[in-house]
């Protein structure tokens, strides 16, 4: 599993952490530093676990977005499939998987230290989708 995008993604997350109040043009407060830290931790864990699974998949860099609730959203998208993970300030996270071609949606929550099996399964589905 190759993830040479990780350092650049961390830099992006640091920029998101420094956004001023009102960054969303609707009065949202700043992104929570704890959410940024949790997002970095989650990405590192994902990369590590994908290596342990022996996956040869090339997982693309996620898009990084701040959310109005002070969290950080990671997005992977390919073809008709997408995976969104909103990392929250309390170190929890919510994920949303959608395959519009197959008419499938799934949502779930992750707590700190929880197994990432579901997330990895959906991420590999997105990676496998044809653009």
């Amino acid at each position: 599993m190759s993830a040479d995008w990780l350092p650049h993604t961390f830099e992006q997350l640091d920029r998101v952490r420094n956004l001023p109040p009102g960054w969303d043009s609707h009065g949202a407060g700043p992104v929570e530093p704890a959410a940024v830290a949790a997002a970095k931790e989650l990405l590192s864990s994902l990369v590590e676990e994908l290596q342990w699974t022996g996956s040869n998949a090339r997982v693309a860099k996620p898009s990084i977005n701040p959310t109005p609730s002070g969290g950080v959203q990671l997005e992977w998208e390919s073809g008709s499939r997408c995976l969104e993970v909103e990392v929250l300030r309390d170190h929890g996270a919510r994920y949303f998987y959608q395959d519009s071609a197959s008419r499938i949606e799934a949502e779930g929550e992750l707590s700190v230290g929880a197994p990432l099996a579901d997330l990895i399964r959906y991420l590999l589905k997105v990676v496998a989708a044809k653009r």
Binding site: Q12, R15, V16, L19, G22, W23, D24, S25, H26, G27, A28, G29, S63, I64, N65, P66, T67, P68, S69, G70, Q73, E75, C82, E84, E86, R94, F96, Q98, D99, S100, R103, I104, E105, E107
Partner: protein, 131 residues
């Protein structure tokens, strides 16, 4: 807060923050642009009715930041949105204007103060940036 009911034919305008700091590409609409601020207990997504305000008015409202853009969709299309499994999302558009905030309305989910990840994604695909 109230106002006359929002007709299906009405065009809704939503401010989108400039995303140069994080978005790739920076003019992309993402589901994060259509999430509620849970820290402020937002009940719905803030939009403006084009029949009552101009794009310029919306970009001058309190809280609007320099460089923001406008995305638009009709109320009827919002109400008709369905998820990937072809189930109705049940979104409603309600007037919320008062003397200090003319033309204001909100897109609300089926439960107060909640908007599903599926709804946020569908809205991000429906709304189109104005040139």
């Amino acid at each position: 807060m109230a106002g006359e009911p929002v007709l299906d034919s009405e065009v809704l305008l939503r401010r989108i923050p400039p995303g140069e700091a994080w978005l790739e590409p920076p003019d992309r609409l993402t589901s994060a642009n259509f999430k509620l601020d849970r820290r402020r207990n937002e009940q719905g997504l803030s939009v403006y009715r084009e029949k009552l305000v101009t794009v310029e008015d919306v970009l001058k409202k309190p809280g609007a930041i320099h460089g923001s853009r406008i995305a638009a969709a009709t109320a009827g299309d919002v109400r008709a949105l369905r998820n990937a499994e072809d189930q109705p999302l049940g979104l409603e558009v309600v007037p919320c204007e008062d003397a200090t905030d003319v033309g204001h309305a909100e897109i609300r989910g089926t439960q107060p103060g909640r908007l599903s990840a599926s709804a946020s994604r569908a809205l991000s695909r429906l709304f189109k940036l104005r040139a």
